[in-house]
């Protein structure tokens, strides 16, 4: 079946099997390999990306379900050569080690801050609780998102 999914602002049209998972569409058809796959069962959240701005585990969503929708992946976080504050926060606070869960974590962090610019520690932990990191013990991921909350992009401040 033919699908058109707008990924990071660019429409991507492909003829694929109806059973194709969104994570494979993004990785193999659109060639955006920053989105990773981790478990098949929606438990680890490694494959999290944003569909119409909402975090979704892309290993449990068919690509066909995203037909006509807007998808944001980690590759879409950087704007105009400037890293998103969440990306900067992860670097500043050592919020990543192996980097495998990082794209999904950052997208969830971005979504949280878009809806709650000043989250508490508990709200951040709750927001990322559907995603697993085996390296960091989460403390520095929490700090990274806090850093981003305290250092918003200029565009966010003026908006």
């Amino acid at each position: 079946m033919q699908l058109t999914i707008t990924i990071n602002g660019t429409p991507v049209t492909r003829d694929v099997e109806p059973r194709m998972l969104l994570v494979h569409y993004v990785r193999e058809e659109a060639g955006l390999r920053g989105t990773h796959w981790g478990c098949d069962t929606s438990n680890c959240g490694t494959c999290t990306l944003l569909v119409d701005g909402t975090p979704v585990k892309s290993c449990t969503m068919l690509a066909a379900q995203a037909d006509g929708h807007e998808v944001t992946t980690v590759e879409g976080l950087e704007q105009g050569g400037e890293l998103d504050p969440v990306q900067k926060g992860f670097i500043e606070c050592h919020g990543l080690q192996c980097g495998f869960c990082t794209p999904g974590m950052m997208l969830t962090g971005r979504h949280l801050l878009d809806h709650n610019p000043h989250p508490s520690e508990g709200e951040i932990r709750e927001a990322i609780s559907g995603q697993i990191c085996r390296c960091t013990g989460y403390k520095n991921i929490v700090k990274a998102i806090q850093w981003a909350a305290e250092n918003p992009a200029t565009s966010e401040v003026s908006a």
Binding site: G34, T35, D40, T41, C44, Q87, H94, C98, G99, R134
Partner: protein, 816 residues
Amino acid sequence: MTAVEDAPISAAGNPIGFGSMKRVEDQRFVRGQGNYVDDVNLPGMLHSAILRSPFAHARIVSIDTSAAEALPGVHAVITGKVLEGIPRPSLLGDNFAWMPTLSYDTQAVLATDKVRFQGQEVAFVIADTRYIARDALELIDVEYEPLEPVMDAKRALDADAPVIRDDKGFTDNRVVDVHGQTAWEAGDKAATDAAFAAAEADPDCVVVTQEIMYPRVHPAPMETCGSVAYLDKVTGQLTLYTTSQAPHAHRTVYAMVAGLPEQKIRIISPDIGGGFGNKVGVYPGYVLSVVGSIVTGRPVKWMEDRSENLMSTSFARDYHMTASIAATKEGKILAVKVHVLADHGAFNGVAQPTNFPAGFFHIFSGSYDYPNAHCVVEPVYTNKAPGGVAYACSFRITEAAYMIERLVDCLAQEIEMDPADLRLKNLIKPEQFPYKSPTGWEYDSGQYEKTMRVAMDIAGYDELRREQAEKRARGEYMGIGISFFTEGVGAGPRKTMDILGLGMADGIELRIHPTGKGVLRISVQSQGQGHETTFAQIVSHELGIPPEDIDVVHGDTDQTPFGLGTYGSRSTPVSGAAASVVARKIRDKARIIAAAALECSPDDLEWELGRWYVKGDKERGKTIQEIALLSHGSLELPEGVEGHLDATVVYNPPNLTYPYGCYIAVVDVDPGTGQVKVRRFIAVDDCGTRINPMIVEGQVHGGLADGIGMALMELIAFDEDGNNLGGSLMDYLLPTAIECPDWELGETVTPSPHHPIGAKGVGESATVGSPAAVVNAVIDAISPFGVRHADMPLTPANVWRAIQGRPVRVDMAIVE
């Protein structure tokens, strides 16, 4: 030797030497530009899938692959019979159906006679896409004749237990190591038995015995295992992109397995999405991707899914320990003895130094000073997946540290002594280092009491005990748990430590280019530890070159010198030392070149960071960058001195390093539900010199989360039919940000005296040390119910059963 110093800051804002510095790696990772194995797509690449056994123990009657082969898009279906037909010119058997393990056992690549664990590899499909490959698995018809599975290590040695390894002609289920041994002992049995006999007879002494199980768990890195193999039939070159923590060791193993010339094998470990020991072994899937490329002439990718990961590649632990401790009633420890029934699964696939078949479990005497200790480890085969040494275990020190720290708490409960006081009374004293342990290990350095008091201060230990007493009075169950652990890491001295005959020394190469910027080529493999950052810092510390001017190359056997890889916390103790020594070699050569340029004797020169200068005339000198240019120029050099500024080193560590720490967990237990909440966790680590404190703390954070996971939720259990009950992340529970508290860290710094920069390694410390702290805290909380021990994982159900006085075997399906 400098433990902590304020390094000068480079133009880019980095410390020239040690100190917290942002990671080089992060720039690509936060942009989604990491390059993991599943991101590798070669032209013409095919995909694959493995058919796995639904039975734990069954004879294969027949396999019909015809329908799968007829499916459009399928290129080949390979079975064990096919592999038996592929000749292999190798020392290790004459065909591909079996391969050597890292413990001199053999493991089936694809089962030919029997399947021996649920999830074992039975057939391999190569197809145009991963979807077609999976479809084809459904079309393979395998007829099995089920056999009784052996799922309990305690059943394995029964006279009537089915024999699992009949392929080897064995008549029972004992694992036999390369030396013909079926039990692995350490310590002085006679002296230890005598000490226990004396304690039993002495009314002022006690003996406490406890059965302690460390159940089977799994490292479960977020990236599963996988590989992309391409054998170029024209050149004979095999390129293997693979999730490997030890690319050089793997190259040699593939040379042996595949009978390929080693110079034609190139192993590339690109970015690795976490390893924790899961990516040390050579698995059938990797070998099958190579076979697939040989058969099809095209690149073949194999990536395991999460269930395959949890069910087939590299479990950890599965130690059934019976431990006894003898002590005076005043709390002076006299002796410890342990018997271990070690469940090795269906193949002995343990990755550890050859002469240490029980890993470093024999360091079990812990952080305490007492003269007598003895243990026996009896390994058995069961119908479970192979593995055993994984999950940041420091070669089984995890099991040892958990055992001794649980045992000490059992003793404290028996003699009604505060567990902190009991530990303080028995800790090895600073003046006793180097300390010879009762099982023969030489601990290098430590200030144990100081470290423990730092932890108790951060925790506010006395105040916590007061709070606990008040809460108990109102019927609330709060617990405080302490763990004091010592690891031995950095394997190891090549005289005594090897894997498959490969001595555990590490090569390294440093080249300083004419403009004073350099490339360091290392053999160890980061899986998230940040080697590209910390190894540049070590060179920077030695040469004064800013870390941003040193690139670190790793993960490609064609680009780096030979070394044994990253596991057992060995990167810093072994290759970190190599980096320091190779940089010092460059510094020494730079001195000769500077002397030639300054027309003086090398002996007249003094070093300050980044520069040789003339003694007494500090203005006259040459920076390392100036020397680099001179070394490549036309300066006349002394007889026998070559130009350029390059060096190589093979570092052979003189001993292990012994990082240690004191952890304190504070938990609240709801006795009605058995729910445990870890309220606080204090971790004070002493890993010697800290190259990059930010990274050290990150390593500790991750290991502490492992401890929460293993203590409270992680478990690979089986039912009596052999079904794996932890085969997905819906069943194998991993800790999230909700279960993990806001870690409270502290530090002491006691450098290793034999390591060039005094660093000890920290990658596994927290995983080793933290489970006991959590379990001790939970038992402390529920001790008013008369509980002295309960096995991990302390799930609500298991805590509730312990409170009710009805504990069950946690590693088997629960039948009540």
